[in-house]
Symmetry: C2
Subunit: 228 residues, 2 copies
DNA sequence: CCCGCCCTCAACCGTTCGATTGATTTTCGG
DNA sequence: CCGAAAATCAATCGAACGGTTGAGGGCGGG
């Protein structure tokens, strides 16, 4: 184990700290500036640093920056994607809480982020109070989900969740969205073209559409696939 | 905030002003905060107000707010879209300069914004200095385009520009991406299905693809259309 | 143990799509 | 004024797609 704190679990020396230290990770200077201003507005929170992408954030953490909370965007143009960065950060010894703060709420992103160990998931259109509350909650180790995100997760778990494609179906829908024809998909996945068509029929039924292009649109709208 | 001006409204007393007054329009509180912080950092610029969507911005302008520059996002979830807001603002008497500051640079958006009378087009990943320079330039009435945007526009005008769809073609590609069939598109645009197919053939040729799904993928990748 | 779900494959058939060829009108710029 | 580009429409034909029906193997829960 590492480090200096006894491995008692959650809050080590930060327990007595009034100061919550926040590391801001976003590729947009404007957003970083806004988050820092918001954070600095809170009396018991301070910005511990800024990074423009996941790699820079990891460098800061390696260099000794010890935030309690990492505010991270998911979509970051060039650099490391937020999900990967989250995975690596939560794999560190005594990791900070990772609070995802991003623009869109697509199923794939949310699941991937939670799976990677994110503590919470906020949307950028959240009001300042919500961001503040989320930072405090994350510092206490609690999980925070923006209402739309929570609803989406629940709707997925819930029994009635129609818009739940199987893994194979999602995979095929993704290839369709890349512009591949059925025959190409069949070769790519080592299955027959008939099987591809069967999957597509199921996909159409679940999405309530009747063509591959409409399936792409519906899949994008439902957050099942993501446009690069 | 805006305090009082002479009350005369359109009087050119702002001409001698050192102060550039900026109205910030964005649906994300975080971004508004960041822009305001950036603007307030500049000695000769001040924020004249904030609005969460185009309608709110127009209300502020109606109520007497007289900014020199409007910093406006294009994508605004619920409210009026930025292009429409730009159109209405530039239609006002002695309108302020409208500087678009948005996340993505898709051809359709850029052209629509310029057509609506936007003075400039910046991307949110622009560094603060670029934003500052653009605000100053916009206040002087100059046109400012972020390099990627300028390149895209030039590539469109330039003769060799392969990825330059015509307006009609872009429109049709957008409808294809919404999942519409040729017949539906023809009805939507009040043209024959044959015409739709002709346009599609041209689109495929320009994008180097041979199916509508591949055209969607290529169009998204090239920034010709945008996934909602 | 059986039922249901997922993944796999097959054959048939009607519709849509993509490619080709050819034509008219308008508009814009040399 | 004339040529180029854009937008419109038509007809044809083979290929791809979408809908249907049917079926078999694997896997987990009741």
């Amino acid at each position: 184990m590492s480090g200096r704190t006894g491995g008692t679990g959650s809050t080590p020396d930060a327990s007595r700290a009034e100061h919550i230290r926040v590391l801001i990770v976003d590729d947009h200077p404007v957003v970083r500036r806004g988050l820092r201003a918001m954070v600095d507005d809170l009396p018991d929170v301070e910005a511990a640093g800024e990074a423009a992408d996941g790699a820079a954030a990891l460098r800061l953490l390696d260099a000794g920056t010890r935030p309690d909370v990492v505010l991270m965007d998911l979509q970051m143009g060039d650099g490391m994607h937020g999900v990967e960065a989250t995975r690596r950060i939560t794999a560190l010894p005594s990791p900070p809480a990772v609070l995802i703060l991003t623009t869109y709420s697509t199923d794939a992103d949310i699941l991937a982020a939670v799976e990677a160990g994110a503590t919470g998931y906020l949307l950028k259109d959240a009001p300042p109070e919500e961001v503040a509350a989320a930072v405090h909650a994350a510092a206490r180790g609690e999980t925070v989900l923006a209402p739309p995100v929570a609803a989406r997760l629940l709707g997925r778990v819930r029994a009635g969740g129609r818009p739940a494609l199987t893994q194979r179906e999602t995979e095929i829908l993704g290839l369709v969205a890349e512009g591949l024809a059925n025959k190409q998909i069949s070769r790519r996945l080592f299955i027959s073209e008939a099987t591809v068509k069967t999957h597509l029929v199921h996909i159409y039924g679940k999405l309530g559409v009747d063509s591959r292009t409409a399936a792409i649109a519906a899949g994008l709208a439902a957050g099942l696939i993501r446009a690069v």
